[in-house]
Amino acid sequence: MSEGIHKSVLSLRSRTSASPALVLAVLFHATVFGAALILPRLFDHAPPLRTPIIAHMVALGRPRDPHLLPRKESPPPAASASAKTAPSLKPSPAPSRPEPSRRELMERALAHAAGKTTPEPREAPDPERAGSTTGSAEGTAATAEEGDAYFTAVHDAILENYVVPSVISERERLYLAASVVAFIGGDGRILKHEFQKKSGNTFFDQALETAIQKTKLPPPPADLARSLRDSGVVLNFRP
């Protein structure tokens, strides 16, 4: 038998001499996989919670005697038009509505299709409230945490488009929750979004996607731009 055959990779001796490298390779891969599994958990226990502080504002006014029945928290619903055109007890045709011109209707439809619908007016903020010029209309804190200004803007912009369909029952609204990761480009565009956790209600999840797609964000500050583009921001939605 020639020497060449003795050194063949198929021979037992050759395989034995290659094992340290193989073991090292296996160990290296195992270490990398282990690190991939364990390290995120080590870092995961305290994610930076960029939560704009939201609290219920107390309206200006005199304190109400606790022994009296409460006033309504919002303006009373206006007596609907049906008060004047109440249905008779006979079969009625389709409910009467104001009749805008066909052109107005078309313009409205096109504006809606283009996402230009007028958002519902929100109550004007209390002019005497302490805060920041970049603060949230819903916020009540007088000062902001460091770095939260941009996330407050993100919060407000998404909230502006965040609509919960009324067909979701009040009972179900108590338990619905969904998480979406949004990746934000340098120009403020939402590059993509993906559900981390769906709510289980199609109409709620659909409404969240619509809100995210409609939202226009300001460009992120330079120190956040890269992480928002590459790793995104988690949006935790509750009704």
Binding site: A35, A36, L39, P40, F43, P47, P48, L49, H67, L68, L69, P70, R71, K72, E73, P76, P77, A79, S80, S82, A83, A86, P87, L89, P91, S92, P93, A94, P95, R97, P100, R102, M106, R108, A109, H112, A113, T117, E138, F151, V154, I158, L159, Y162, V163, V164, P165, S166, V167, I168, S169, E172, V181, D230, S231, V233, V234, N236, F237, R238
Partner: protein, 419 residues
Amino acid sequence: MILLLASLLLAADRPVIDLSGGRVQAYPLAIAKPLGAQEIGTAVEAVLAQDFERSGLFKLLDPASFLASPEEGFLEVDFSKWQAVGAQALVKASCDVSGAEVKCDMRLYDASRGQELLHGTYTAPRQAPRLAAHRFGDDVVRFYTREPGVFQTRIAWVRETENGKQIVTADWDAFGAQALTTASINLLPAWSHDGSALAFTSFRDGGGAHVYAVEVATRQIRPLVMTGDFATGASWSPDGGRLVYSGSANDNTDVFLARADGGGAKRITDSRGIDISASWNPDGKRIAFVSERAGTPQIYVMNADGSGVRRLTFQGNYNQEPAWSPKGDLIAFSGRDEHRVFDLYTITVDGGRVTRLTQNQGTNEKPAWAPNGRYLLFSSTRSGKRQLWLSQPDGSNQRQITNEDLGASDPAWGPLPGK
């Protein structure tokens, strides 16, 4: 491998934003012009539109804005045209007459995804195609909310007439009202658990108010409670096995519990003040009522055997007419505020948190819950004569339901069909 590791590390460092308090908005729904028999289709479309609009769940889109062809059938739906007018839900129907029946093929679509969600054939007597519309409407509500709809339910109220006050029943939208009584003063109707009868208070015997029952199908009236100086405000338990009412003897008014036929009555309250207006909770184990035992009328709750009495309202000095929600969590009542006007409120059974539903809109009284707990009927003078109004439990979406010449009061909402 390195990239995978890096992405996992980046994911762990993501900032988090919590969002809650989205605006609750009615779901935009389009009802396409029904195909087939035009007269029937028009009637079905009108009933569907009214049901959906009054439900407060949907925002009906104006048919004049529709871009899709009126002839568009079921198979080639151009969803982009429905999306363009803002529709998220789309209803299409095709109705035809077959002998003494109408047959409607009705479908619900998710307009934004272009999917069919519901599809069914609904039949009804030719004279009443609205029944098919109500049934499909209830199916749509159940599909979205996972709760039963109320479009097939019946309501009752007291109609003011020149000859007194009469008990009337009608569909949930007050259509087809029929009087069940013809003379005397009749008040406070309350449905039996299966909707076949109504208990009511009447002065028909001439000797003071007592409790009677009327069969809805035959209008046959029978006495239920004829004992004491008077008996009033009767209500059958949710399982139909018991009757609770207020009775007076020897100048003292208390709550009594009896068998469903009024027999075997037992007093379950015993205070010197007036105890009236008993209302069952959904499982029939507890009762809300009004008592003056603390000096002013207030809402109390107790076990159905009279034990465990607990005062529930502490705000205001005149709270009355409790109505326990079918969901069990709220009691609606009317209360008189410092302006000496009665308005509607709800109070949480456990926490005692009071929410006001009406304000500065006439006198609002006698709340009655829909059997699914989604709506309240009540009487209001805001449009002139006292009429019945519909509201959601938070006070939103209030709409006038009746238009009686001399007035309507004392609403009662019947059970869900099939109970």
